[in-house]
Amino acid sequence: MTDGHFVSREPFDPHSIEALTPAQEKYYLASQWKLMWWKLKRHRLAVICGIILALNYASIMFSEVIAPYNLHTRNTDFVYSPPQSVHLFHQGEFIGPFVYGRGYELDMDLLKRNYPEQMDNVQPLRFFCQGDEYRFWGLFEARFHLVCPPENGTFFLLGTDRLGRDMFSRITYGARISLTIGLVGILISFTFGIVIGGFAGYYGGWVDASVQRLIEVIRSFPELPLWMALSAVLPVNWSPILIFFGITVILAMLDWTGLARAVRSKLLSLREEDYCTAAELMGAKPGRIIGRHLLPGFMSHLIASATLSVPTMILGETALSFLGLGLRPPVTSWGVLLNEAQNINVVALYPWLLFPVVPVILVIMTFNFFGDGLRDAADPYK
């Protein structure tokens, strides 16, 4: 103490520097998925889009209940009926959700059907009610709906098509096909990508070279025309279900290349790591090394990238069905619905046939935003 230097009298604790605050400890001990989740939460837009998507996917579980009509119900008295709006007040008096009744007259000059609103005919909507019959998931008969048309009335929120089928119900049902085809497709292309890219990256040499060439050839081809050509050669006598799977496989067949490239380039560098050599020396087979030791290292990133190709698939199906080369009725997807809007003269007369465009764009956009946020969150270097 004589030379003026400060010396602490506290006992020396060699671990003091390593001690972590609880927050740090939580961060360091968190699993990879947890880290991703925290990062994703900070990305406000991605979270909102994720919620919208989750709601959409939840809705396809209960399409039958949400839709006021059955998918195939034809209201032959109301062909090409314009949308009916829901009102709450009738002449300043609160009634609750109701629609005005519809009359019918034929305009003999234009040969056009008119459905004038009868302003004195108030028809309250029914909720949690018994309506059109359906087979829930094809399993059992039921009649329960969230909302039903009034007794002896109609409720066409988005109008009807050329057979008098309710557009809103058809869009609700169409979501089921349109949304699942993206997921099933990505599942197939994911498998393709991991297996092919995995082999190319792990073995290198001529396997890698030939896979690389194959990918180059596929990628140098404009996607849509090739999709069109492939789906055009699906046999006409296939059942709609087979066509559904055929289209999914076709969509996936051109999509795996990007993923395979990512897997390959990652594996090429990772297989030089010591832990990989160690596994090899202990006698692990290539399949095990790839699947157990190498892939989990960047799986989260792969899944995030895969999310970004789901909208491509949904759009591919929509485009094909729109052109009449994809799914065929009675299977109903948004693309199949849009097929009726192909003729611009029909659209000019009955613009509500364009409504399926809205969910398509909404889903594509939310998927893009969500996938973008997810990819940023899964990137460990950011």
Binding site: S220, F221, E223, P225, L325
Partner: protein, 332 residues
């Protein structure tokens, strides 16, 4: 340079060969050849089938030969400009196609130019003014453009034009010029109509290009040579033009390999929606009636267009960047 060029051309030829095998497989995929389809069609109409004539046709088109010989005949025909025979139209494919290939070429080329001209200034602005209001606005706009499927955009625009202006914006020229020989007026008319489909096809490509250019330029701007230049007192504009922009430009040209397939894909379906006299509508109708030779020729044409475009971009890139010219094959 010569080595590089010859290697690239060789790869291109091999790629095209692989693609032609693929296309030929697709042509052969529907069960039976088109003569069997032709026969059933005749029988369904109650006409007598002339077996001798069928046999003769079969010989003429080489359908009695083994598969690889048929493929060989088809490919040599393609190289010589003989695109095969359309059974739906009863004409050689070359006659059915007319100047559609040419119009397709113009449409795709203009779209690429449009994408470059629009996305370059916006991308540079976004990168140099990162996180400004302009950047945020443009990014959002880009996202919207990226997410809106172009054929739906076409459909909506067609509808809006019909409602507000009462006109159709479809087509590529005024109706009076259809099937007319090429004159100056017809060329002008094409240019008047061209911008709508170009805009529709170009939106998503432009949006993607802006985002990639922005990301690339941002990477360059953070490098040390930029700091050095700034420290030595280079004016910002000059610094930008002299160094980072030139490097980002490389990528701009190189990216055509991604852009071209997307643009050509988009152009096909937009052409169907807007009924443009390009390859799209005919490709669709050929596929619907399984007129496979016609469809195959179109597929082949689109593939050649892509592969050739990529070759051009590679050559440009080699001219721009000495590392590629001299580096040889090592950079993989």
């Amino acid at each position: 340079m010569f080595n590089y060029l010859s290697r690239r051309v060789l790869t291109m030829i091999l790629t095209l060969l692989a693609i032609s095998v693929l296309v030929f497989i697709i042509i052969q995929l529907p069960p039976g050849d088109y003569l069997t389809t032709y026969i059933t069609e005749l029988e369904s109409q109650g006409e007598l089938v002339n077996t001798e004539k069928i046999e003769e046709l079969r010989r003429q088109y080489g359908l009695d030969r083994p598969m690889y010989e048929q493929f060989f005949i088809w490919v040599t025909g393609l190289v010589q400009g003989d695109l095969g025979y359309s059974f739906e139209h009863g004409l050689p494919v070359t006659d059915v196609v007319g100047d559609r290939l040419f119009l397709s070429l113009i449409l795709n080329f203009s779209t690429i130019i449009f994408i470059y001209v629009v996305s370059f200034p916006i991308g540079v602005y976004s990168a140099t003014h990162q996180y400004s209001w302009g950047d945020h606005g443009l990014t959002l706009l880009g996202f919207l453009g990226l997410a809106t499927p172009n054929f739906l955009l076409a459909l909506i625009l067609l509808y809006l034009a019909n409602v507000f202006f009462g006109t159709s914006i479809g087509g590529l020229m005024d109706p009076i010029y259809i099937d007319q020989p090429w004159t100056m007026d017809k060329v002008l008319s094409v240019f008047e109509h061209l911008w709508v489909p170009v805009f529709v096809i170009g939106t998503s490509g432009t949006a993607g290009m802006i985002r990639r250019l922005r990301a690339n330029l941002l990477d360059e701007l953070q490098k040390q040579y930029v700091t050095t230049g700034r420290a030595k007192g280079l004016p910002p504009g000059r610094l930008l033009r002299k160094y980072p922009l030139r490097i980002a430009l490389n990528f701009f040209v190189a990216d055509i390999g991604n852009l071209l397939p997307a643009v050509i894909s988009g152009a096909e379906i937009v052409a169907v929606v807007m009924s443009l006299p390009t390859t799209g509508p005919i490709l669709l109708s050929a596929l619907q009636s399984q007129d496979m030779y016609l469809a195959g020729s179109f597929l082949m044409f689109l593939a050649v267009l892509t592969v050739f475009g990529v070759l051009v971009s590679d050559i440009l890139l080699a001219l721009l960047d000495p590392r590629i010219r001299l580096g040889g094959s090592a950079s993989k």
